[in-house]
């Protein structure tokens, strides 16, 4: 099932079900919010509607957007030919919509785009308002755009980016310059060896082909080691899970959403409602997140991860002082088969090795032709230019 709610058959933009549209149920892929109707629309949705883009529908997502690409949705996983697929990316790949808005909190829309062979751009943290996103990992999650090509991605991103006073982390610029140039001959690209080595052969082949295409355009391509990837992976796991735990705690069965039928007291109401309504991955994330935030562990887990985030940012800046972009796989595989639920937490953690650096640093990333490009903050133009030059 691609859509949770179809809104307008003539609409050209799909919106992930973790992003609110006034009056349209928003489940975030969870039984917990099966009947939740928001009172307001996300800022990104408002901006699109104001600019004349009609919304096609709410795209099915994994529970709270925490999984690989939609397989934990309470409405059922989205698959294409027996392989996992993200609904937004699949809709774009099918030509059903021009673009899809997705929340990148732990790489799901990047993996989905890589699998579907479409583009996805996660812009710099703070450039697109998070107002109206059903929040998990506030310090890194960001709305991005899935589209068939770099031009479409740029068109939609231009509309949704810009300051929003309703989001305290929204950056002050009203508009961003995403102008592109197909001349990439002066660009210096670095292939991240650590990520390349960890990917399957068919993924490696895509990177190789992309590197050759860039060289043919005159860009220089070098191989570097990206040691920060594993530090970013662990630290982001801790920050992401802790913040998710905290944000999901409001879903307690008291005010809205799912409430267990039988309970003797308030504690039972909480425990039963949450136990019955949430899936395995959400629960695993909550348990992990509660543990790393415990008083006895705070210093060596959450606080340390904040310090690691700063180091990772500094190291990434050093790399981007020398290179315009990093070229790397977006995922270990070119195709993901449904897996055992019990493996979910480890599976997602393993894949976040490829996506965590942009997640934890807030730097932009783009998926195109099955590969991932990363750049320094506010360098979306670099990503779009590279993508466009290889696409044409």
């Amino acid at each position: 099932m691609f859509y949770i709610n179809e809104i307008n058959a003539a609409g050209k933009i799909a919106v992930d079900d973790t992003i609110l549209i006034k009056g349209t149920p928003a489940t975030a892929g969870s039984k917990m919010l099966a009947n939740f109707k928001p009172l307001f629309s996300a800022e990104a949705v408002e901006k699109l509607e104001k600019a004349g883009y009609a919304i096609a529908g709410k795209a099915n997502v994994g529970e709270f957007g925490l999984d690989l690409m939609g397989e934990t949705s309470a409405s059922g996983a989205v698959t294409v030919n027996g392989a996992l697929a993200g609904a937004g990316a699949a809709l774009v790949a099918d030509g059903k919509v021009k673009a899809a808005l997705g929340v990148d909190l732990n790489g799901a829309p990047r993996r989905a785009a890589a699998v579907a062979g479409v583009d996805f751009i996660k812009p710099t943290y703070g450039t697109v308002s998070r107002y109206g996103v059903i929040a998990c990992a506030c310090s890194g999650e960001q709305i991005g755009v899935t589209a068939a090509n770099a031009d479409d991605a740029k068109e939609i991103l231009t509309v949704i980016a810009g300051h929003d006073a309703k989001d305290g982390t929204s950056l002050p610029a009203e508009k961003y310059d995403y102008s592109t140039s197909e001349d990439v001959s002066a660009m210096k690209i670095a292939i991240a060896k650590d990520l390349y080595d960890a990917a399957d052969a068919d993924v490696k082949a895509k990177i190789d082909a992309y590197a050759e295409a860039l060289k043919a355009k005159g860009a220089s391509v070098e191989v570097i080691s990206l040691e920060i990837a594993s530090q970013a992976q662990t630290a982001w796991q801790i920050l992401m899970a802790a913040e998710t735990t905290n944000n999901l705690s409001r879903f307690d069965g008291v005010k809205y959403g799912y409430r267990a039928a039988d309970y003797k007291n308030i504690d039972e109401l909480y425990v039963k409602s949450r136990s019955e309504a949430m899936g395995f991955l959400a629960k695993a994330t909550i348990i992990y997140g509660s543990d790393v935030l415990a008083k006895a562990k705070y210093e060596k887990c959450y606080d340390k991860s904040l310090r690691i985030r700063r180091i990772v940012c500094d190291k990434a800046k050093e790399i981007f002082a020398k290179y315009d972009a990093i070229l790397a796989p977006a995922a270990s595989k070119a195709e993901f088969k449904p897996y055992d639920t019990a493996d979910a937490f480890e599976k997602v953690f393993a894949e976040s090795f490829f996506t965590a650096v942009p997640s934890i640093t807030g730097m932009p990333a783009m998926v195109t032709k099955g590969v991932q490009l990363m750049a320094d903050s506010f360098k979306e133009s670099v990503l779009l230019s590279i993508a466009k030059s290889v696409e044409v």
Binding site: S249, K255, Y256, A294
Partner: protein
């Protein structure tokens, strides 16, 4: 052996802002229907993000100045997690890692009370329990209303010091416009232990949670003092560090369930709220907007010729002082205004059992003006004041309706004087027999007949003339 108390206070005060701490709903509580001052943000709905109320930050800094604190120019908001139905997000946004004000002190008589810190946080909602249906209802009107928590050092040695500190705090906060400190808007947690006098070690500590009345606080401290000393001297119980609550009906404290106190709040910085940087310029602006403190006000009143004792009373309460300032500003004499407020207005407040003075300064000013110019008598003035307190009447219209004008027809006064003389033959005889005091009785009768309207001087002169 002699013992001394060691007490520290955590005082929660509601800030006087127009809106809540992180959304634009109306601010400090006033009587409303349940849940009519809420929005998706303060109801904990997904998708909403907090945006900090700048005025709340400024008021907290003012409180810091007032209590001689160091202002942390880099300050952060953090999340404190616990589940309770009155807390819609299941976390409270507070300041844990970098509170806005630290290391202050305040002088209470001879004693200096240290202030460990002041931090800003959001209030929780309210649960209403319906016994009949065994159901609880949630009211989120108070959710996210801004509070400051003022944490003292354990520097108090008696309940009297605690009460003096709280009274002083209340009047200072009201003066600076930081908090209205309305009934229930100032809540205290009291940390208390007992040790032999002269000892430097601390005894086992009890924390008595969430008290709002001064008498309750005093009684709870006195109760705990006896309980602790009994435990030490007579081994009546084994003291343990615990959280207790005061039961106002049973007049004693009880331990709270362990479950309520053994929580791990899982504090971490709120990623939705950027650290607040208070630069020197903003800090200077806030300092410049500080109003006079109560003490400064009192000194100012004394310089206007008000007696020290009266100045102290006037300056101790914001409503009294504001009314005084406003009436004096209309050109009335400060001494006269002080007397009207401290005697007549406070008399009315006592009669009507009012906690605070609530009179339009213009009305009080008009009453004083009429009395001072002799247009109505002081007795008539009191009558108008009483009507203003009771029904909020318009001063001039009321005087007219009730014929309070002192310049009533002199012929009518003379008629009344003659009537009173005719009806009181015995008193008149007494007066004529040399009993000077009898004149006062006749004067009183005339005043009574005229319902306080005639000028006393005119009446007295006419009486003397008619009798002689």
């Amino acid at each position: 052996m002699k013992y001394e108390l060691v007490i520290g206070l955590e005082t929660h005060v509601e800030l006087s802002t127009d809106s809540k701490l992180f959304c634009s709903c109306g601010g400090h509580s006033s009587p409303k229907e349940p849940n009519d001052c809420v929005c998706p943000a303060c109801c904990g709905m997904p998708g909403m993000l907090p945006v900090t109320n700048k005025h709340a930050i400024e008021l907290a800094v003012k409180a810091g100045f007032m209590l001689n604190c160091k202002i942390n120019q880099y300050t952060t908001f953090d999340k404190k997690s616990y589940y309770y139905p009155d807390l819609p997000c299941a976390y409270q946004i507070t300041q844990w890692f970098h509170p806005i004000c630290v290391d202050g002190s305040v002088q209470i008589g001879e004693r200096t009370i240290g202030i460990k810190q002041i931090h800003v946080e959001e209030d929780a909602g309210k649960l209403v329990h319906d016994e009949a249906t065994n159901t609880s209802f949630v009211d989120y009107n108070r959710t996210s209303v801004p509070l400051i928590e003022i944490v003292s050092r354990p520097d108090f040695r008696s309940s009297d010091e605690v009460i003096a500190y709280l009274k002083n705090l209340k009047s200072s906060l009201q003066f600076a416009g930081i908090s209205e400190c309305e009934e229930g808007a100032m809540r205290c947690d009291v940390n208390i232990s007992v040790r032999p006098e002269g000892s430097n070690e601390l005894g086992v500590r009890s924390e008595i949670k969430n008290m709002s009345s001064l008498s309750e606080i005093k009684d709870a401290i006195e109760f705990e003092k006896v309980r602790h000393i009994d435990a030490i001297e007579r081994h009546t119980e084994m003291l343990v560090q615990e959280t207790r609550r005061w039961d106002d009906v049973k007049r004693r404290t009880f331990p709270m369930r362990n479950k309520e106190t053994a929580a791990d709040y899982r504090y971490f910085p709120d990623p939705n709220l950027m650290p607040i940087v208070i630069d020197d310029e903003w800090l200077a602006e806030i300092r410049a907007s500080m109003p006079a403190t109560a003490d400064e006000k009192a000194m100012h009143y004394e310089s206007m010729g008000i007696a020290a004792k009266e100045a102290a009373v006037l300056s101790s309460d914001r409503k009294l002082a504001d009314t005084f300032d406003a009436v004096v500003a209309t050109g009335r004499s400060p001494k006269v205004v002080a007397s009207w407020i401290l005697t007549e207005c406070m008399g009315q407040m006592k009669r009507l059992e009012l906690d605070s003075l609530d009179i339009e300064p213009a009305k009080l000013a008009r009453i004083i003006e009429l009395v001072e110019s002799g247009e109505i008598t002081r007795a008539a003035g009191k009558k108008v004041l009483s009507a203003v307190f009771e029904n909020g009447v318009e001063v001039d219209a009321y005087c007219e309706e009730n014929k309070l004008n002192a310049k009533v027809d002199e012929g009518f006064i003379l008629e009344t004087v003659r009537k009173v003389i005719a009806e009181n033959e015995k008193v008149v005889a007494d007066y004529k027999g040399g009993k000077v005091k009898a004149l006062q009785a006749l004067f009183g009768s005339v005043m009574k007949e005229l319902r306080g309207t005639g000028s006393p001087d005119v009446i007295r002169a006419m009486l003397e003339k008619e009798l002689n």
